[in-house]
Amino acid sequence: MTARTETMLYLDGVSVSFDGFKALNNLSIIVRPAEMLAIIGPNGAGKTTMMDIITGKTKPDAGEVYFDGNTDLTRMDEASIANLGIGRKFQKPTVFESHTVWDNLVLSLKGPRSVFAALGYVAANDDTARIEAILDTIRLSGRKGELASGLSHGQKQWLEIGMLLAQDPKLLLVDEPVAGMTDAETVETAKLLKDIAQTRSVVVVEHDMSFVRELGTRVTCLAEGSVLAEGSLDQVSANPVVIERYLGR
């Protein structure tokens, strides 16, 4: 067992129930710095609830949730958790449709988040350079002046990943990043996430097994709110319980 202080994300014995339904049941997960973890599991396994707990949207009934070793996330709200350095990509791509691609990134860029700081904000050269670099990474340089509503589904997914990068997070939570993407886009996304995981911790929730294989990383299978199996994808998918409860169905 890894000591808590050496982890980027530490969930221990987390339980939460909604109207008697146990969405998470004694869930324990660890993510180390600059490590990628893929989470698979059937619908209703608690994957999204787990992200809600980490990002402060839902408070757990029991259990510990720590970020970067020592920060207790259960006492903080969404905005403070985001400012600690946890970025979250939603399952359905969520970008600011009536803003340009550029402005989407401006709004995401790490920096003071108070009302009056925003009122007096003047773009610094550093900010512009950072946005240009992110646009290159997510391949949207050519469309930076366009409204985000005009992007394709896959491009919106990428823009949202770009917005996460602009936040400069230590931990990225990525919910089904390749849903609705073409095969080529899926391969590119896997490459991008692997790049990101060189320097940051990444948690990817995904249904697409070929994508998870592409990621080539540690896999955790959830079912009914707790961990069913852990290991490499081959180990997990060879596990008879996983086959019975998830893959086989």
Binding site: A79, H99, V106, V115, A118, L119, G120
Partner: protein
């Protein structure tokens, strides 16, 4: 920071709008005061306060648009801030009457003598000083909006529920102001004003001055709103409107953004009400009526929300229409207003401004892109307040 803000506020459209308003502030009083009676270019006396009133309504509409058009808060209670501003101005004007009232009491306004008040209620004490009263015009509605917003936005009350409690707020205030023992003249309200800042309130030159003040207040409101919506904060406001939880998970606090916009909006609405009262000569609890707040929403919708000029155009067009229509078929105005609202939501989801913008865009659009134009124009009109359109 301030120079940056002013600089940013001065985009081309805002500059034109401000210049036009300043020109109106000069031209209308000049025409009324300098040209001889009967001159074809002279604005007749009765029209000066009437147009002044339209400009006050335009400022109210602009204030409402700042929260509804840009942050997506559909307030159905903005008449409350407008009326509070009006009442606070009315208190000053009442105290200027002095012993010229019907009962000749040098301290107590007529209605207090009539209702057998022995002394001024404490909150009437300082309002005879114009500077104190004018500060209160900003402070009281600002404080109310801040407290209301603090509780509502922190508790994450949104959408229809927020609209309903804003409506309840203005209705509650209306009931309170109707009471004789509340100290604001009950159902009759405050009226029979004589002087403002030492000038006779009935005099043509005072009316012209009030008109100019209304136009300049609107110009200042345009500058302020333009500075806000063109800043990064303005982008955050639109982001909150379109995807509140995304904004939250990026580390912004939507409640603070809403609170800021709501408070600034209340201040603008209050100034509009304060300039309105000396021009119409009366303020009574009827101004708090929920219908008034809803009418203001219609002005914004008709003009085009999420733009600076839209609500101004909407307020003026609808009110000119109201003046003409109520002279012509007084009983049917509310039907016409309802029809206008339905027509706007069905056929002009972006209001009058959207109509012009669409026409302008189609001229410039290269061939083969009509399909996306249709898709853009076909934003769902049915979900008032929920559905959002791109802001400029």
């Amino acid at each position: 920071m301030i120079t940056q803000l002013v600089f940013r506020a001065l985009d081309k459209k805002a500059v034109w709008l401000v210049l036009i308003l300043v020109a109106i502030a000069v031209a209308v009083p000049a025409s009324n005061l300098l040209l001889p009676t009967g001159h074809p270019l002279r604005i007749p006396n009765y029209m000066v306060p009437l147009f002044g009133k339209y400009l006050n309504y335009a400022l109210l509409a602009l204030a409402l648009d700042l929260v509804w058009g840009y942050v997506g808060i559909l307030s159905l209670g903005h008449a409350a801030f407008f009326s509070l501003g009006g009442y606070i101005m009315g208190m000053y004007l009442m105290r200027q009457i002095g012993n010229r009232g019907v009962y000749g009491n040098p301290i107590l306004p007529d209605f207090m003598v009539f209702l057998q008040y022995k002394e001024l209620p404490w909150y009437w004490n300082w309002v005879d000083m114009w500077w104190f009263d004018f500060l209160m015009i900003l402070f009281v509605p600002g404080l109310l909006a801040f407290l209301f917003g603090w509780f509502a936005f922190r508790s994450r009350v949104t959408g229809v529920y927020l609209s309903i409690i804003t409506q309840a707020m203005t209705f509650a205030l209306q009931l309170a102001f109707f009471r004789n023992d509340f100290g604001f003249g009950g159902a009759n309200g405050l009226t029979d004003f004589k002087d403002i800042l030492g000038f006779n309130i009935q005099a043509g030159s005072t009316r012209a001055g009030l008109f100019a003040a209304s136009a300049l207040a609107l110009a200042l409101g345009v500058l302020m709103c333009s500075a806000i919506v063109n800043s990064k904060l303005g982008k955050v406001m639109v982001a909150v409107r379109d995807a509140e939880s995304r904004t939250r998970f990026l580390g912004w606090r939507p409640d603070n953004v809403k609170l800021f916009a709501f408070t600034v909006s209340a201040l603008l609405a209050s100034v509009a009400g304060a300039l309105f009262v000396p021009q119409v000569g009366i303020i009574n609890p009827g101004e708090f009526a929920p219908e008034n707040s809803i009418e203001a929403v219609i002005w914004v919708a008709v003009g085009g929300r999420g733009t600076i000029i839209g609500p101004i155009i909407g307020a003026i067009v609808v009110n000119v229409g109201k003046t003409l229509f109520t002279g012509w078929l007084p009983d049917y105005w509310l039907f016409a207003l309802g029809a206008l609202f339905i027509g706007t939501t069905l056929f002009l989801p972006k209001g009058i401004v959207g109509l012009f913008r669409r026409a302008g865009r189609q001229d410039r659009r290269p061939p083969g892109k009509e399909a996306s134009a249709a898709a853009e124009a076909g934003v769902s009109p049915s979900t008032l307040g929920a559905k959002v359109e791109p802001a400029e």
